[in-house]
């Protein structure tokens, strides 16, 4: 008897195998976060006993948690995978762009430039990402095989049909497919899968002490070299963990005592705030923030 985690796993494996079969040069977008770590685990299963047949690509904002980078490098070595790293800072300077003069100078929107540049340079025809439909309302609208035109843009109003499990991966040269094997997983499904599969994660997903200061809306930001701390900020050491791992300038921590995967699941069952709501301060810019970024070619 297969339970819902087996069914979600089977669906993700099916999608990964379709991607390997239908595209010439797919790549897996790897951030060091739990969703892309699960994707790598699923890809291991999908192609076992062979190794994962595609490389990883990290769009590096430079605003990294060291734990996530260490995890990435160990994983790549362990699985003998090729890793491409595209540095956002380099693409910014070659385009004459500078960091925003803000308290939290996020490079989130600049990531699109680097992603599209990497796709063009290495001729990736499919980019596999860990995005989930439960994360955000524009993502909830996206197909599993999500088409990007020659300019790298998503055209939500003209998405083609995607019926049954049939995935139409035919594209023209220069176009790109974004592939989302975790489309139907929720945050808590991912954690239950991590528990079941005994997947290890970077330590920042579990409770630890960190110097933080609190924003007006209650978000906890850790003190780091990329954010501008001023006199008004009250810095205290708090016991926190991260629900998502992203650009350090716009990823907030949450207060937590959860030390194990089971304790994280228990915490999430009672959580009143959504994953992105709790952690992504850049999502709050506008009501259609994610949709607009995706239309330009974002993940």
């Amino acid at each position: 008897m297969m339970d819902f985690l087996d069914q979600l796993e089977a669906e993700a494996i099916y999608i990964l195998r379709e991607t390997a079969a239908q595209f010439q040069n797919p790549v897996l977008l790897f951030s060091g976060g739990k969703d892309s770590i699960c994707l790598v685990h699923l890809a291991k299963k999908a192609f076992f006993p062979h190794k994962i047949p595609f490389p990883l690509l990290h769009i590096d904002t430079g605003h990294n948690f060291q734990e996530a980078l260490d995890y990435r490098d160990a994983l790549v070595q362990d699985l003998n995978l090729k890793l491409f790293i595209r540095f956002v800072a380099e693409d910014m300077s070659s385009n004459g762009l500078v960091d925003l003069d803000q308290k939290f100078p996020s490079r989130n929107t600049f990531q699109t430039i680097s992603l599209l540049k990497a796709i063009e340079l290495y001729e990736f025809d499919a980019c596999i990402g860990g995005a989930r439909r439960d994360e955000e309302k524009a993502r909830a609208k996206e197909r599993i095989f999500s088409h990007r035109n020659l300019q790298g843009k998503w055209l939500p109003e003209s998405q083609g049909p995607e019926v049954w499990r049939i995935l139409n991966g035919s594209i023209l040269k220069g176009e790109n497919m974004r592939v989302f094997p975790l489309s139907n997983w929720t945050e808590i499904d991912v954690w239950r899968y991590i528990l079941r599969e005994k997947i290890t994660l970077p330590s920042l997903y579990f409770a630890h002490s960190r110097p933080c200061f609190q924003l007006k809306d209650g978000s906890l930001m850790c003190v780091n070299e990329f954010v501008k701390v001023d006199d008004k900020d009250v810095i205290e050491t708090r016991k926190v963990r991260y629900r998502t791992v992203g650009d350090m300038t716009c990823t907030a921590a949450i207060e937590s005592d959860a030390n194990t995967v089971s304790e994280v699941i228990e915490e999430l069952i009672h959580a009143k705030i959504s994953e992105r709501g709790a952690t992504r301060i850049d999502d709050r810019i506008s009501d259609a923030g994610m949709e607009d970024r995706k239309k330009e070619g974002y993940f």
């Binding site: 087996d6 494996i13 299963k45 076992f48 062979h50 609208k141 998405q159 489309s183 139907n184 009143k272």
Partner: protein
């Protein structure tokens, strides 16, 4: 944790424009506790033209695109998730407008349960009938007809009964089997997840109870109905490894099976699942197979048991739902994709059609299709995986139509 054997159940909502589909889903999510506080605050901060009462506008939860919120309509399918003690549910909120039928089909095609909304004030419309026909075409296991906005007619029993009997006779006509009608108010939540006694004359339970009562039917599990379609081939020195999913039946190491339209007899040497060698695999499992014989099998080939073979032919009788503004034309070449198989095909004949050689956007028609090579396929009633296909435009790669095989 009572996670054991918790199953995935897919349901979709359909119906006429403004029948309150998005509001109903919002209500289900809200009452099952699947909406977080920050999302609710977002709702009260952002009201749009669909806000009728001072309550939160629950439709905002699923209308995720700017254009949808501006126009106050659902354009594309949105996926939402909630869980009960027994199941995890995936809800597709599908658009009501005729011009977005392709998106409705996208959201509905994999679903076990259809929830079709009818506005009690307007009754059954052409769209109700169209969506019901698509549910029948897709062989959705259970159809729940939610007769909505009962609050606007003071929860009147007679109006509900009239719609109910009219719908049931239509359902019989189109071959829908398991049909339930529920009077409710999505806006107030009445009869959706709770009952406050406004309709003492109705004893069919709430919508959520109706959904929870449903259990998916087990797939055909006898070894004779074994089906496996090759998704991807891993070449190795001695023999290839074939990756794919067991879509029906079971298969064991040592079993003699047949491969493809050529009916080549082979023996299963090794089955790999979850990093391990296993003796036997069952429907639904993703597996890797090795054969004793060193033959070359291509992506899209079907493995099966000789006792219960698929149909093997180059002629397919099917029902097509056309989804493109470019009309379907007989004798024009298309790609036909059936699971992981892709072949060139033509529509040879359109049955029972007044304008005999063209199919227009949103039409559902019976057709005869001819493929360039002989292929293995199933009746849709037996296999959703090997009994369904899409047609693809050869020049721009667009998906033009979805078909079910008879």
């Amino acid at each position: 944790m009572d996670m054991e054997n918790k199953k995935l159940i897919r349901l979709f909502t359909a119906g006429n424009v403004d029948d309150g589909k998005s509001t109903l889903i919002g209500r289900l999510l809200f009452d099952s506790g699947a909406i977080s506080t920050d999302i609710l605050l977002g709702l009260s901060a952002l009201k749009n033209s669909r806000t009728l009462h001072e309550n939160f506008d629950l439709s905002y939860l699923t209308d995720g695109l700017r254009a949808e919120r501006e126009q106050g309509i659902t354009i594309d399918v949105a996926y939402k998730y909630f869980s009960t003690d027994s199941h995890k549910y995936i809800i597709s909120d599908t658009p009501g407008h005729l011009e977005y039928t392709r998106n409705m089909f996208t959201g509905a095609s994999l679903c076990d349960i259809a929830i079709i909304l009818i506005d009690v004030n307007t009754g059954i419309t052409e769209q109700t009938k169209r969506h019901s026909k698509i549910a029948a075409l897709l062989q959705v296991s259970k159809v729940i007809v939610a007769v909505n906005k009962m609050d606007l007619i003071h929860y009147n029993e007679d109006v509900f009964d009239k719609i109910s009997s009219e719908y049931l006779s239509f359902a019989e006509e189109i071959g829908l089997v398991d049909v339930r009608l529920i009077p409710l108010s999505a806006l107030n939540g009445e009869q959706v997840t709770f009952v406050t006694g406004k309709m003492p004359w109705y004893h069919g339970g709430t919508l959520l109870e109706q959904i929870s009562n449903f259990s998916p039917t087990e797939k055909f599990n006898e070894s004779s109905s074994f089906r496996f379609q090759v998704q991807h081939v891993l070449p190795t020195k001695d023999s290839n490894i074939y990756l794919g999913e067991l879509t029906a039946g079971s298969v064991a190491v040592g079993q003699k099976i047949l491969v493809g339209a050529a009916e080549i007899s082979v023996t299963i040497e090794e089955i790999i699942n979850n990093f391990n060698d296993i003796d036997k695999a069952y429907a639904g499992m993703p597996i890797a197979l090795k054969l004793k014989e060193h033959i070359n099998v291509n992506r899209g080939s079907v493995f099966y048991d000789k006792v219960f073979p698929p149909k093997i032919s180059n002629k397919i009788t099917a029902t097509l739902c056309w989804m493109s503004k470019n009309n379907g034309v007989t004798d024009q070449e298309y790609f036909l994709q059936l699971g992981s198989l892709k072949v060139i095909a033509c529509i040879k004949k359109i049955n029972g059609h007044q304008k005999s050689n063209e199919i227009q956007l949103n039409e559902i028609v019976a057709v005869e299709i001819q493929t360039k090579e002989i292929i293995a396929f199933d009746n849709y009633l037996f296999s959703k995986e090997l009994g369904s296909f899409i047609l693809i435009d050869l020049s721009n790669n667009a998906t033009l139509a979805a078909g079910t095989i008879q």
